[in-house]
C-alpha cells in the first residue's frame, strides 16, 4: 500500500502511464489471487475469451454457483428490507470466506426463511378470515335485526360465505349451493352475506341483479379499514441514466488543460457586458459559498449541472466583466470609466454631430471602445468590422494551437512521419492563407489603411499577378501573395501522397523475410511499436490507408475555410446580445421612465428586470455557452483530438456497492 502513496501526482496534460501485464496463475490459487487483487483495486481485467460462449469458459460451474448464492443474498436483502430492518454493513472484508460453507449455510437459511414465510402467511390468512367472519356477523346481523319484524315466522337460512379478496371475486361457491326451504311452504327469503372489496361492490351488485333477474335487495355497509393486504406490489422504478462522455485516447494530449481558460474567454467574447457579468459573478459566488451545503443535498438535474460547473461559471463571469469593459457595455450603457471620450463635436452646438460627425481631439480612449460610439450612425459598421476581425484573429490563433498540440502528440508518440507529412503541411496551408489574413488585419489596424481585405483575399486566388493598386498594404505584397499561394498549393499533395507510400514501405521492411504470417494467438502482440497508424494487423491494406489519408487531407483543406468562417459566430452572438440589451434598455426602461406615473415606471422596471434575467442572463448564457463549447469540440479539437479511449475500471471490491447503485 505504501507503493501507491509514493507515486508521483498525475500530470494533467496526458493520462497516466499504464502497463499491460499478463498473469499466469495456477488454477487452485486463482480465486485467492483474484480476490486479493480485487481488494487492492488497481487492476483492470480484459476478457481474453470474449468470443467464447458462456459454456466454453473454464469456470462456468463456479459462476453458476455464485449466481445462485447471489440470488439467495438478494432474496435475503429483499426480505430484510420488507421487514423494515437495516442490514449492518461490515467495513472490513472478511479474511478468507469459504464459499462452499457459505453456500451450504445460505441454502439452509433460505429454506428456513421460506418455511417461516409460508407459515406466517397461513397464519395471517386464517386471522384475516376470522376477522372477516366477525365483521360479517356484526354488520349483517344489523341488517337482519332491522328486517326481523317483517319476517318473524320464517326460518331463515343464513348462508355465510366468505369472499376472498383476490382480484377476481369467487362467485361460484354461493350460486351452486342449495338453500333449504323452511317448513312453511312459502318460498323463504334467502340471505347471502359476505364481505367484498369496496371497489368490486358495484360489479358484484350488477352481477347478482342479473343472476336473480332483478329480484334482490342489496344492502351494504362499509367496514373500517383492517387487515392489510398481504400482496402489496412494490414497483421500484430504476431510472437509468445514460451518461454520454468522451474519454481521451491513451496518453494523448488532454484539451481540457487549455479549454479551462479558452472556453470562458470565448464565452465572454459572445456575452460581453460587464453588468450582466456582475450578475453572473454573484450567482457563481453564491454557488461556491454554499458548496458545502448544496453538495450534500440532492438537486434537480438542471441545478446539479449548474452546481457542478460553479467554478467554470466563476471564470465565465470574470471574463465577461473583462470583455464587457472592452466593449464598454453596462446593460448596454457605455460609461466613461477610463477617462473622457476622445471625440468631441465640431462646434459648441453639436449641430453636425449626425451629419459630418465628431472630430478626434485627444489620444484614443485608453481601454476599450470609446463611449462616443454608442448611438452614433456609424456605430454598427464600426463595431461589426471590429468584432469580425477580432473573431478571425481568435479563430486562427485557436486553430494554430490545435495543430501545435497535434505536433506535441506526434512527438510524444515518436512518430516523425506524422510531424513531417501532416503537421508541417497543415501549418503551412493554414498559415499561408488564414495566418496571412490575420497579418493583413493587424497591419490594417496599425496603419489605418482603407484597403478592402475581402478584395485582397479573393483576388489573391483569382488573379494573383494583377496589380493591387489602392489595396496595397505594404511593400512587396504581390510577390508575397504569390509565394504564399504557391506554398498552399504545394502543401496539399504534401499532406496527401507521401504518408501512405512511406507506411507501406515501412510495413514491407518490418515483415520482410517472414514467409509465414504471424499466427493469431490470443496473447497480445508483445513487440508493439508506437506506430503512427497504430495497427497491429499483419495485412496492410494500401487502398484503405490511401483513401483514409485522402479523406483526412481533403477534410482539412475544406475545413480550413469553413472553420475560420465558423468563428464569426463570436461576432454574431455578441452583436445579438448587445442589440437585445439595447432594445430592452431603450424601448422598455427609458420609455417607461419617460412617463410621470410611478406605476408605469415600476411596471417598466419590472419588465426590464424580467427580460434581463430570463432572456439575457439565462437564454443568452446558455446560447453563448453552447456555441463556445461547439467551437472547442469541432474547430479546436478536430485538429488533434481522437478521444477513442476508455475509462479505467479496476476490479475493486471497495467500489462495487457504488457500481450497483
Amino acid at each position: 500500500m505504501d507503493f501507491v502513496n509514493k507515486l508521483p501526482p498525475m500530470d494533467f496534460l496526458r493520462s497516466e502511464e499504464m502497463t499491460l501485464v499478463q498473469l499466469i496463475i495456477p488454477v487452485e490459487s486463482a480465486h485467492r489471487a483474484v480476490s486479493y487483487l480485487g481488494e487492492l483495486g488497481l487492476l483492470q481485467f480484459t476478457d481474453l475469451n470474449a468470443d467464447k460462449s458462456p459454456f466454453q469458459r473454464t469456470f462456468v460451474n463456479q459462476v453458476k454457483r455464485c449466481g445462485e448464492i447471489s440470488r439467495k443474498l438478494r432474496f435475503f436483502k429483499d426480505q430484510i428490507s420488507k421487514a423494515g430492518m437495516v442490514s449492518p454493513i461490515h467495513s472490513s472484508p472478511q479474511p478468507d470466506v469459504d464459499l462452499e460453507e457459505l453456500e451450504i449455510q445460505l441454502s439452509e437459511h433460505e429454506h428456513e426463511l421460506i418455511e417461516m414465510n409460508a407459515n406466517s402467511e397461513k397464519l395471517r390468512q386464517t386471522y384475516n378470515e376470522l376477522l372477516e367472519f366477525k365483521m360479517v356477523l356484526q354488520k349483517a346481523g344489523g341488517f337482519l335485526v332491522s328486517g326481523q319484524h317483517h319476517t318473524v315466522a320464517q326460518e331463515r337460512e343464513l348462508d355465510e360465505n366468505l369472499y376472498s379478496r383476490d382480484n377476481y371475486a369467487d362467485i361460484p361457491s354461493f350460486l351452486e349451493q342449495e338453500t333449504r326451504l323452511g317448513p312453511s311452504n312459502e318460498a323463504g327469503l334467502r340471505f347471502i352475506s359476505g364481505i367484498i372489496c369496496k371497489s368490486k361492490a358495484l360489479r358484484f351488485e350488477r352481477m347478482i341483479f342479473r343472476a336473480t333477474r332483478g329480484n334482490m335487495l342489496f344492502n351494504q355497509a362499509p367496514t373500517e379499514k383492517y387487515a392489510t393486504d398481504p400482496m402489496s406490489v412494490e414497483m421500484v422504478e430504476k431510472i437509468v441514466f445514460v451518461v454520454f462522455f468522451c474519454v481521451a485516447g491513451y496518453q494523448e494530449a488532454n484539451p481540457a488543460v487549455y479549454t479551462v481558460i479558452t472556453f470562458p474567454f470565448l464565452f465572454a467574447v459572445m456575452f460581453g457586458d460587464w453588468g450582466h457579468g456582475i450578475c453572473l459573478l454573484l450567482g457563481a459566488i453564491i454557488l461556491i459559498a454554499c458548496e458545502s451545503r448544496l453538495g450534500s443535498r440532492k438537486l434537480g438535474s438542471f441545478m446539479e449541472m449548474a452546481f457542478g460547473g460553479r467554478y467554470v461559471i466563476l471564470l465565465m463571469a470574470l471574463f465577461s466583466i473583462y470583455c464587457g469593459l472592452i466593449y464598454n457595455e453596462f446593460f448596454s450603457v457605455p460609461y466613461h470609466i477610463f477617462g473622457g471620450s476622445a471625440y468631441k463635436c465640431r462646434d459648441a452646438t453639436c449641430r453636425d454631430a449626425h451629419t459630418a460627425g465628431l472630430i478626434k481631439y485627444r489620444d484614443p480612449y485608453p481601454f476599450g471602445v470609446d463611449p462616443s460610439w454608442r448611438g452614433s450612425r456609424s456605430e454598427l459598421p464600426f463595431l461589426n468590422s471590429l468584432k469580425m476581425k477580432m473573431s478571425i484573429l481568435l479563430g486562427v490563433a485557436q486553430m494554430n494551437l490545435g495543430i501545435i498540440l497535434s505536433y506535441f502528440n506526434a512527438r510524444f508518440f515518436g512518430s516523425s512521419l506524422d510531424i513531417w507529412y501532416q503537421f508541417v503541411p497543415q501549418m503551412i496551408f493554414l498559415n499561408s492563407l488564414f495566418g496571412y489574413l490575420s497579418l493583413l488585419i493587424v497591419i490594417k489596424w496599425c496603419t489605418g489603411s482603407q484597403a478592402d481585405l475581402y478584395h485582397v483575399m479573393i483576388y489573391m486566388f483569382l488573379s494573383p499577378t494583377e496589380d493591387l493598386g489602392e489595396n496595397q498594404l505594404f511593400w512587396g505584397q504581390k510577390p508575397l501573395q504569390m509565394l504564399l499561394l504557391l506554398l498552399a498549393v504545394v502543401a496539399v499533395p504534401w499532406m496527401l501522397f507521401p504518408k501512405p507510400f512511406i507506411l507501406r514501405k515501412l510495413h514491407l521492411e518490418r515483415f520482410q523475410g517472414r514467409t509465414y504470417g504471424i499466427l493469431d494467438t490470443s496473447d497480445m502482440d508483445l513487440d508493439v511499436e508506437p506506430d503512427s497508424a497504430r495497427h497491429h494487423v499483419d495485412e496492410f491494406n494500401f487502398s484503405e490507408v490511401f483513401v483514409h489519408q485522402m479523406i483526412h487531407s481533403i477534410e482539412f483543406v475544406l475545413e480550413a475555410v469553413s472553420n475560420t468562417a465558423s468563428y464569426l459566430r463570436l461576432w454574431a452572438l455578441s452583436l445579438a446580445h448587445s442589440e437585445l440589451s439595447t432594445v430592452f434598455y431603450e424601448k422598455v426602461l427609458l420609455l417607461a421612465w419617460g412617463f410621470d406615473s410611478i406605476l408605469i415606471r415600476l411596471v417598466g422596471l419590472a419588465v426590464f428586470a424580467f427580460a434581463t434575467a430570463f432572456i439575457l442572463l439565462m437564454m443568452e448564457t446558455l446560447s453563448a455557452f453552447l456555441h463556445a463549447l461547439r467551437l472547442h469540440w469541432v474547430e479546436f479539437q478536430n485538429k488533434f483530438y481522437h478521444g477513442d479511449g476508455y475509462k479505467f475500471r479496476p476490479l475493486s471490491f471497495a467500489s462495487l456497492p457504488d457500481d450497483e447503485d
Binding site: P54, F55, K64, G67, R74, D166, Y168, D170, P172, R203
Partner: protein, 351 residues
Amino acid sequence: MYGFEALTFNIHGGYLEAVVRGHRSSLLTASDYNNLCQCETLDDIKMHLSATEYGPYLQNEPSPLHTTTIVEKCTLKLVDEYKHMLCQATEPLSTFLEYITYGHMIDNVVLIVTGTLHERDVQELLEKCHPLGMFDSIASLAVAQNMRELYRLVLVDTPLAPYFSECITSEDLDDMNIEIMRNTLYKAYLEDFYKFCKKLGGATAEIMTDLLAFEADKRAVNITINSIGTELTRDDRKKLYSNFGLLYPYGHEELAVCEDVDQVRGALEKYPAYQSIFAKLSYGESQMLDKAFYEEEVKRLCLAFEQQFHYGVFFAYMRLREQEIRNLMWISECVAQNQKSRVHDSVVFIF
C-alpha cells in the same frame, strides 16, 4: 391522406414507435437460439437468458426451475412492456393496442369454460390464463351453464360483448359447442379488427389488413383441417370462415368441401402466396403445417417493420414476442424431457 403520415404521426405516436422498435431489437437472434438449443439443463437456459433482456425477470428464480416458470416470466416481460405502452398511448392507438389482446381474452374465456366443464378448480384455471387477456369478473365464467348465461352474467360488460350476437344459443356447453363458440367469436373479432384498421386508413390500414387477412386465411385452413372427420357440417364450417382475406370467397367454397389434407393443399395451391407454404410439406404430411404457417407469418411480421409511421409495428411486435415465447417453451420442454433432437422441429427463427 395516405403518404403524409410523416408529418403528424410523431406527435402522438412517435415515442411509442421508438419504444416498440427498441423492444424489437431485443428479440432473440438465431445465434441465441443456437446457444439455447445446446443447453443441457434448464439452469443453462436460465444462464443464457440472463445475458439477454430476460435477465432481470429470471434472475431471482430459485434453482430447480420448471418450464412453466420460464414461460411465465417471459410472458410477464411481454405484459410489462404492453402495459407500459398502453398507458402511454392516446386514441386511436390505445384502442388498437386493446384490440390486440381480445384474441387472448377469447382464449381465456374458452379455457375457463372448458376447464369448468371438466370439473377443474377455478383458481388453477385462472393461473393458466394468459395475463394479457385478463379482465375483471373472469372467474365468474365458471358459473355459466350455457352460452346465454355466459353472455348475460359476465361477458356483456367486456369488450367481447358485440361478438356474441351470432353465437348465443340456449344449448348447454359441451366440447363441440365451445370450439364453435371460440371460432365464431374469433371470426367476429377479426372482422371487427379489420374494419377498425380500415377505418384508421393510411399505412396502418394497408399493413394491418394484409396481416389480418393472412391470419384469417390461416385460421380457415386450420378449422378445415381440424374439422375433417368430425360432425361439423359443411355449412357450419363455412360459417366459421371470416369474410375477408385472400381466400374469400372462392377459396372458402373449396375449403368447405374438403375432406382430407390433400384436397386442402389442392385448394390452396391456386393462390401463389400460399403455395410456398405447402411446397415445404410432402404429400400427406400435416404435422409441419403449423411450423410452415408460423414461418410465413414471422416473415410477414418482420416486413411490417420496414415501414414507419403506422401502428402495424405494435401488432407485429406482440406477435413476434409471442412466437419467441413459444420457441422458448418448446426448447425448454425439449431440454427438460431430454429430447434435444426434436428441438428444431418447432423453433421458428425470427432473425
